[in-house]
């Protein structure tokens, strides 16, 4: 996936690092720390004196919004703006000690839908910023269709989200728009209800913001709200996604940025992480998502498109309860890479027998390859068979193969001979058989 969400802390850090380039006329204190528990916060206070000197705000920094409505923003102990370091530390320890319920959608103040339940592990702590509602503004930018769009509003916080259509001014720019064109259009479209005294500053800030969004390869960037006090800016809340394909150009610009898993989403398994690591080291493509490890149909499919078609067909014919994984290998992986990928799958699928006592199915599928050498990749699969033949037999795996492309005759012949020699159940088909027909055959058995 090209667009990846980053933590609010990282978003602020990236802007702070390039502040003078994009916002030369504004100041930003960049007083913000990210910690995982109270002790870390106290440790951070040794280097950041403001943590002792100012009253604080603390909130989780885990990619989800609506933290206020979820009751997860600490800004008062007895009264708003009186949170001490000690209080913040104990609050963080309390919130991170057990799983928390978080709702992603609200109707007014009422949560809707099912909550996600997970541990809170990362918290952002910043100074409490007294300011008036009038000083709060909203700005965001993203790509819509072929254009970049900036959204600006004189009202920040929850107000803007609840009255989007009336309160937000949007300006759209083609990718080829020049800085002058952008600056001019933003200045001409400052929302009418921005205070007159702030209008010029608001426009300049938004121009810098949009320039940063473009040049730093953000896919999405939102500050809601930011506070303008003359030339002093505070970024109260930020959401950001990066286009991670630009990572190779942005090594210095982004610094050490992390792409965390969303709150409530299961962390990747060791196997998925191993495949991801292998994928990052090869020019070929290796992808694995484990959907339901106890399910009985496993797929090892070549090609991004074909893998989707197999998943569609299995869902249609058997239902998703039987589908254990989604994944693909493509782009001419080596024999060794294919062996590693196959062994990862075989290991996962042979850990348990089917709960209902049925056999398991392994679909070694693929369309007609353009350039991947079928015999070479199948050699990798055969080597994996050698190592896992006993386990595959133990859980009763039936193997269905369908593939075409360079050297496919040899590949199909080799895999059939190898499986027969090892006593594995196998059926092998070439391009004369419709690509997904082996799913039907497997299910009819």
């Amino acid at each position: 996936m090209a667009q990846k969400a980053i933590r609010e802390y990282d978003a602020k850090s990236i802007l702070a690092r390039h502040w003078d380039k994009y916002f030369p006329d504004f100041t930003y204190s960049y007083e913000t720390v990210m910690v995982q528990n109270g002790a870390e916060l106290k440790e951070a206070a040794k280097e950041n004196s403001w943590l002792n000197e100012k009253t604080l705000v603390a909130k989780p920094d885990m990619l989800f919004g609506k933290r206020g409505k979820n009751g997860l923003v600490l800004f008062k102990d007895q009264k708003p703006g009186d949170v001490s370091l000690e209080k913040a530390a104990s609050w963080i320890d309390e919130k991170s000690s057990s799983k928390q319920e978080v709702f992603f959608a609200f109707d007014g103040d009422e949560p809707t839908g099912e909550p996600s339940i997970d541990m809170l592990t990362h918290f952002l702590v910043e100074p409490f910023m007294p300011h008036t509602q009038e000083e709060e503004y909203y700005v965001s930018a993203t790509c819509v269709g072929d254009n970049d769009v900036i959204y600006m509003s004189a009202e920040g916080g929850m107000e803007v989200e609840e009255g989007w259509d009336e309160k937000v001014t949007e300006v759209s720019f083609p990718i080829t728009a020049t800085e002058d064109e952008i600056a001019e259009a933003i200045r001409a479209n400052v929302p009418a209800d921005v205070a007159d005294a702030d209008k010029a500053n608001f426009a300049e800030f938004c121009i810098g913001f949009f320039k940063a969004y473009r040049e730093l390869n953000f896919a999405y960037l939102e500050i809601n709200p930011f506070v303008l006090q003359g030339n002093k800016v505070e970024l109260l809340d930020m959401v950001a996604k990066l286009d991670d394909t630009a990572g190779f150009m942005m090594v210095n610009e982004w610094g050490d940025v992390e792409y965390p898993t969303s709150f409530g989403m299961e962390n990747k398994s060791a196997e998925e992480e191993a495949v991801e690591l292998a994928d990052s080291k090869t020019g070929a493509s290796l992808k694995l998502t484990i959907l339901k490890p106890e399910a009985r149909i496993w797929t090892m499919v070549a090609g991004g498109g074909a893998s989707v078609v197999y998943a569609d067909t299995i869902a249609d014919m058997a239902g998703i309860d039987d589908l254990a994984n989604y994944g693909e290998y493509s782009g001419g992986p080596t024999t060794g890479e294919t062996k590693f990928y196959a062994e990862t799958l075989f290991d996962l699928m042979t850990r348990e027998k089917d709960a209902q006592g049925r056999g398991k199915v392994l679909i070694i599928g693929g369309a007609i390859a353009n350039f991947t050498d079928v015999a070479k990749t199948f050699t990798g699969i055969i080597q994996a068979f050698e190592n896992y033949q006993d386990k595959l037999k133990e859980v009763g795996v039936k193997i269905y193969v369908r593939r075409g492309g360079p050297n496919y005759e040899k590949g199909l012949k080799d895999i059939k001979e190898a499986a027969d020699r090892m006593g594995l159940y196998i059926e092998v088909y070439g391009p004369e058989t419709h690509v997904t027909d082996i799913v039907r055959m497997a299910l009819e058995k």
Binding site: A2, T245, F248, G305, V308, D312, D316, I368, P406
Partner: protein
């Protein structure tokens, strides 16, 4: 443009991807194209000038260039760029080619180009009316005319899937692997495809479904179209719109893969980077239903797609497409170890650059050794003044007496009882930077000074900084007052016969400065030859970098080698004739200064 490619289309292939290019040439041979579909290869880090490929059983050479601009200049008719650069450089390669201009379409294979760069590249191409296929694609094909790189896979598969001749389907897919699969399905259930494009799997691709379908609507070879979409994005709705407003009238069959995505939350990425639904409208199911409602032929599942194709095709009741004759690519081929581009002894009579020996050998032909050199060294027929100049040079350098190192060596070897060839070779082996090399050096340095518009004074100080005495300047005894008549002869010949002598004119201004410092710092015979050779090539229309290459490859030295061989052989024969005994150098002519070696 109603067709993406024709049988005349030629491409510039960026990156020397030999397997993919060979596949293109195998395809060309199979379908009997007249010219190879790859006209040039851009290989920025290669120092080779061409790459060999098989064309059927034979081999052809495709020129290699370091820069796209050079390739385009050499092959201006090649209007397709096949950009096989990595995701790091693909953007720059595309933008540069757009800047150069003259391309009608570009295919970009890299996956994962930064989105902002991909958007900019696609937009710029759109503004310049250039069709972009990709990024993240295996390409496109017009069966029977032109095939991009690896699309269609092996030649066997291509013939099996009837991709060697135009059928009647226009095919557009996102996926490259499924493109191949569909070609196969279409060949089984219909009569093959007329044009096919895999638009690419990245989120931002250049030409989208509608761009390609609108072109196919105009293409008379296309009778119906198949669209294979994917979960994610809203491009299919543009197709629905075009059908509703009558821009597309040919029958369309369509299916969006990724119906499974609805069962999982957005955390599972199915298929390509572009395949992620933002909202219900972008789900495969929703798009399939919408297309069905718009009158598109949508099957119930991917498994039912073949039957749907068969049904639509049968209803069209098209005339049967004749099967054209094909060439068969030999199963095994051997690459040739050597290449010869100057002479050919395979016919009745051996030829020098296409001219039978008898047509240049006898006096009646009016040809001299200068003509033979121009044919065998430069593969050109030089005009009379140039061949005569070459002969003048050879005659001028033929000998310079017995004392010069080469002649001395040859004589000593001959006296040791060695043969003509052995003695000659020992003489030739002394030719280099110090002996005879002034010709090369003079050409190189004077040309450098002239190319860089150095005044004589600047040139002198430049050479001084380099710590090199100016090659081609200075004579042991001759001066302006007592000129070297060989030099005078060469200069007079040039003045009478050369169209112009810009470098010599420049060298004379340098000589004026050097002789003002010291009488004997004249332009000597080596210098004059080197400089006039450059003037000769300039007058013959060679580019400056071609001349630089002649200098760098030692061509000037070669004139000296040929000429002086005549003199060396003379000295060797002289020794043989005189039956001179073994030579031993007199000991009193050697300074002995030998100390005992220290222990270390």
């Amino acid at each position: 443009m109603d067709r993406l490619y024709t049988k005349e289309t030629q491409a510039i292939f960026w990156n020397n991807n030999k397997t993919a290019i060979q596949r293109m040439l195998d395809y060309d041979y199979t379908i009997k194209r007249e010219k190879p579909s790859v006209a040039a290869i851009v290989a920025p880090t290669s120092s080779n000038k061409f790459e060999k490929f098989f064309y059927g059983p034979d081999e052809v050479m495709i020129p290699l260039f370091k820069k796209t601009a050079e390739a385009k200049e050499a092959q201006p008719q090649a209007d397709v760029l096949l950009n096989f650069a990595s995701f790091r450089t693909a953007y720059e390669v595309t933008m540069e080619a757009l800047e150069i201009g003259g391309f009608s379409s570009m295919m970009i294979t890299a996956e994962g180009i930064p989105e902002r760069l991909a958007r900019k590249m696609n937009q710029t191409a759109r503004e310049k009316n250039v069709t972009v296929i990709g990024p993240a694609t295996v390409g496109a094909i017009t069966p029977g005319a032109f095939k991009v790189a690896n699309i269609g896979g092996t030649i066997t598969n291509i013939v099996n899937s009837k991709l060697h001749r135009a059928g009647s389907c226009g095919l557009v897919t996102r996926s490259g692997g499924l493109f191949n699969e569909l070609s196969n399905i279409i060949s089984i259930n219909a009569d093959g495809i007329a044009e096919g494009v895999a638009i690419g799997g990245d989120r931002f691709v250049g030409s989208v479904f509608i761009d390609n379908l609108l072109r196919m609507e105009k293409n008379p070879d296309v009778k119906y179209m198949i669209l294979l979409g994917e979960v994610g994005g809203t491009e299919e709705y543009k197709v629905i719109e075009a059908i509703k407003n009558g821009q597309i009238t040919k029958p369309v069959i369509a299916w969006c893969i990724g119906t499974i995505a609805k069962h999982y939350d957005s955390g599972v990425q199915f298929g390509h980077a572009g395949a992620s639904a933002n909202g219900e409208m972008e789900t495969a199911e929703y798009k399939n239903n919408a297309m069905k409602e718009a009158g598109i032929n949508v099957p119930d599942s991917f498994n039912d797609l073949p039957a749907m194709i068969n049904k639509v095709f049968t209803e069209l009741n098209l005339a049967k497409i004749p099967e054209p004759e094909m060439n068969t690519v030999p199963a095994s081929r051997r690459s040739k170890e050597f290449i010869c581009t100057i002479s050919d002894d395979r016919g009745e009579e051996c030829t020098y650059a296409g001219f039978p020996i008898s047509s240049v050998a006898t006096p009646a032909t009016g040809k001299g050794i200068g003509d033979v050199i121009s044919l065998l060294w430069f593969k050109k027929q030089y005009p009379k003044w140039a061949t005569e100049f070459i002969e003048t040079v050879i005659k001028t350098v033929a000998d310079h007496g017995p004392a010069v190192s080469g002649a001395h060596n040859a004589k000593v070897t001959a006296r040791a009882g060695k043969s003509v060839v052995e003695s000659l070779v020992t003489g030739l082996l002394t030719i280099g930077p110090r002996f005879g090399g002034a010709i090369d050096g003079a050409a190189e340095h004077f040309k450098y000074a002239d190319d860089n518009n150095l005044s004589p004074k600047e040139f002198l100080s430049h050479m001084k900084k380099q710590g090199i005495p100016i090659p081609g300047i200075g004579h042991r005894i001759k001066s302006l007052k007592n000129p070297d008549l060989r030099v005078t002869g060469l200069m007079n010949f040039a003045a009478e016969n050369f169209p112009a002598t810009p470098l010599l004119d420049y060298a004379r201004t340098v000589e004026a400065l050097t002789t003002s410092k010291k009488e004997n710092l004249i332009l000597n015979v080596d210098g004059t030859i080197g400089i006039l050779m450059v003037d000769m090539w300039r007058a013959l229309g060679y580019e400056e970098d071609e001349i630089n290459e002649f200098i760098a490859s030692g061509t000037l030295n070669a004139f000296f080698i040929v000429g002086r061989s005549i003199g060396f052989i003379g000295h060797v024969l002289d020794e043989k004739r005189l039956a001179m005994p073994m030579y031993r150098h007199p000991m009193d002519d050697i300074l002995y200064d030998v100390q005992q070696a220290e222990e270390i």
